[in-house]
């Protein structure tokens, strides 16, 4: 028997241990259930539309709920155009920030200031970006459009892309910074010892080494851009017709998958309309999930190396 009478605990302690372990397992299973549930709900609810419209839905060019004609092509174009334009605009900046914070100035007050500023950009809620842009950026774009001779809508793919670009910079930038900091010094020192300049070391040693990681960062930014709803909804102009020339498409109003769902979900009164919208949600879900998973997988490969 225990010499120490104080520790005369009942064996119920073991019961609590097993209960606790079970709770932990259940919590993790909840994650699985959630994802499965999301997927199943999306598929089930878009079934009417999938069955009736089939795969042609994806390149149907007309979206006319009144006449029960549904085609997702305008939204695919809108989504891809805004996201990729935003990506292209943001990449030089994310890249510059990563190189600056990772290579030129990894420590110190200035680098901390820049790092915090970038984090702040990511922290600002998207609706605030949208709202601000609606009142400040759009008039500027409008004047620009007059100058280049297109219809001065102001809203449209152009404004949405600009704001989106600013919003997604932090994601690639913070990832890129950590990756560039992880480049082993011996590698760089070898190049310096051969007489390379700083620029050449960055260009020929650092960047090739981090190439796939930086690519993953771009994928994550893309994933964020594709899923962004509010700022885009406010700025994109909400037209489901597709224009003819590239100029008109880019500088005129449009719609993305996320924005058309946001705008028309409440108005959908019949099943087909409803399930056509949900099918858009399903497509959006698939695309963003796949891109995010690929990006994350590349990153874990990197950090395990």
């Amino acid at each position: 028997m225990l010499k120490n009478k104080r520790l005369d605990l009942s064996y119920s302690q073991m019961k609590w241990e097993t209960i606790f372990r079970r709770i932990l397992v259940i919590m993790s299973i909840i994650m699985l259930i959630l994802v499965a549930g999301i997927f199943i709900t999306l598929v089930v609810q878009s079934m009417p539309s999938i069955k009736t419209l089939g795969i042609g839905y994806l390149w149907g060019k007309v979206w006319d709920p009144v006449n029960n004609v549904y085609g997702a092509y305008p939204f695919l174009v809108g989504t891809l155009l805004t996201s990729f334009t935003a990506l292209i605009i943001s990449v030089p900046f994310s890249y510059a920030i990563s190189i600056y914070l990772g290579e030129y100035n990894p420590k110190g007050w200035l680098s901390n200031l820049l790092k915090n500023t970038i984090e702040l950009i990511a922290a600002v809620p998207s609706i605030i970006y949208g709202f601000w842009a609606l009142f400040i950026l759009v008039p500027v774009v409008r004047t620009f459009e007059i100058k280049i001779g297109v219809a001065p809508y102001g809203v449209g793919v152009c404004s949405a892309s600009l704001v989106l670009a600013v919003m997604i910079i932090p994601y690639a930038a913070s990832l890129g910074t950590s990756l560039i900091r992880m480049v082993p010094s011996p590698l760089k020192e070898g190049a310096y010892a051969l007489g390379a300049t700083r620029f050449e070391v960055i260009r020929r040693v650092v960047l090739p080494y981090t190439r796939s990681g930086l690519f993953a960062g771009i994928l994550l930014s893309l994933g964020r851009a594709l899923g962004e709803t509010m700022a885009v909804t406010v700025l994109i102009g909400n037209t489901s017709a597709i224009a003819h020339t590239f100029k008109e498409v880019f500088f005129g109003p449009g719609n993305t998958m996320a924005s058309v769902i946001a705008n028309e979900f409440q108005e959908a009164d019949h099943t087909m309309y409803f399930s056509a919208l949900i099918e858009l949600g399903l497509v959006l879900f698939f695309v963003t999930v796949i891109i995010n998973l690929i990006g994350k997988r590349i990153i874990t490969k990197y950090t395990n190396n």
Partner: protein, 377 residues
């Protein structure tokens, strides 16, 4: 003295690699390629010029065949850029004198650095502009009346954001109650059982949830909760909770993985049962990291609009009834920003200011916590 003079007057013994052919001016090559594209490359390098012109002609042929379209126009721009780069590199390679070459490369390096610094800091401009404008427009709106009254009917002046303010607080509080326990416990499981199948798939699901667009979450909760029970603040909270969880889970997992294993060993060797080791030793030691993860997730969802669009909806009246629609700050900003009335725009500016201040304060608070409360391990 004498020897130094002699040495400095001796010609350099270094061998110079001499390029056959004339030396080209890098600046000229750059400008010519910029203006004339593939034709301009000829100045720097004949071979490069031929290749680039051929590619350009192929592009033009495609345009003629298929009509001008976006894809081919983008290709044309890319070809132009490649010409410029080609010309630059080709001209650079023709510099003969070693010293001048080194000087050129050094200048190139400095130019690059300035360019990088410029781009990096330019990014701060949009943020500063946005912040300043919102503060300028919003500060004027905020006063006690603004914070304690509901919006006036459309077209009338006055009113405030009390319903949205209270609504946001209630909805976020409810989300936290759901998301924090599940998130922390999930994070504990992931950090304690890293090799298991469940941990792998569960972690995968956490990553998936983190990437799901916010509007899709709104749709899902619409079907799960709004359809059977109606629009309500609860449904909005659940949607936001789903968005909070991945952040809490990942930060808990990472914080706990950083703790030294000797901590757990010490507690176990004293006969402390597993659940108490986790709850009374491990979690308290990781408290700073876990708390900052929680606060960051709150800062994230307090500004989310899309999940609330078809769940909590909005409400023009101050209500604490969680089974009915409830207004929230981001939703109000959205509705009023897109409305035609100027008074509502004013309210939206004020609400934006309040929301922005909330988010900034939460972020600053997180940084202070991680700095101050990090227990010396």
């Amino acid at each position: 003295m004498d020897i130094a003079n002699q040495l400095s007057r001796q010609p350099s013994n270094r061998q110079t690699i001499v390029y056959a052919g004339k030396e080209k001016s890098v600046l000229a090559a750059f400008l010519l390629a910029l203006i004339f594209g593939p034709l301009g490359v000829f100045y720097a390098s004949i071979r490069g010029g031929i290749i680039m012109t051929l590619i350009c002609l192929a592009n033009v042929a495609l345009i003629v065949l298929f009509g001008s379209n976006l894809f081919l126009e983008i290709i044309a721009v890319i070809v132009w850029i490649i010409c410029i780069v080609n010309a630059y590199n080709a001209a650079k390679a023709t510099i003969k004198d070693m010293d001048r070459r080194i000087k050129f490369r050094n200048n190139e390096s400095v130019l690059y650095k300035s360019f990088i610094i410029f781009l990096a800091f330019v990014v701060t401009l949009p943020l500063i502009i946005v912040l300043l404008y919102i503060i300028k427009q919003g500060v004027l709106q905020v006063n006690w009346h603004f914070l304690t009254h509901v919006p006036a009917p459309e077209g009338e002046k006055g009113g405030g954001i009390a319903n949205a303010l209270v609504g946001s607080l209630i909805i976020v509080a409810m989300s936290s109650i759901v998301a924090i326990p599940i998130g922390i416990l999930s994070g504990i499981y992931l950090s304690e059982n890293p090799g298991t199948k469940l941990a792998y798939y569960s972690g995968l699901c956490v990553d998936i949830l983190q990437g799901v667009p916010s509007i899709v979450v709104g749709i899902i909760i619409y079907f799960w909760i709004v359809k059977p029970f109606g629009f309500s603040a609860v449904s909005g909270s659940v949607a936001l909770a789903i968005m909070m969880m991945p952040i809490v889970i990942r930060s808990t997992e990472q914080t706990l993985l950083l703790l030294p294993p000797s901590l757990k060993e010490a507690a176990l060797s004293l006969g402390v049962p597993y659940h108490r080791v986790i709850l009374k030793v491990i979690v308290p030691c990781g408290f700073a990291g876990i708390l900052s993860g929680i606060i960051l997730s709150i800062a994230r969802i307090i500004g989310e609009t899309a999940p609330l669009l078809f769940t909590a909806l909005g409400n023009n009246y101050l209500s604490a009834n969680i089974a009915k629609p409830m207004e929230s700050l981001p939703h109000m900003i959205y509705t009023y920003a897109t409305s035609p009335y100027d008074d509502q725009h004013d309210l939206a500016w004020g609400a934006s200011f309040i929301l922005l201040m909330f988010v900034l304060l939460l972020n600053i608070f997180t940084k202070l916590i991680t700095r101050k409360w990090n227990i010396q391990l």
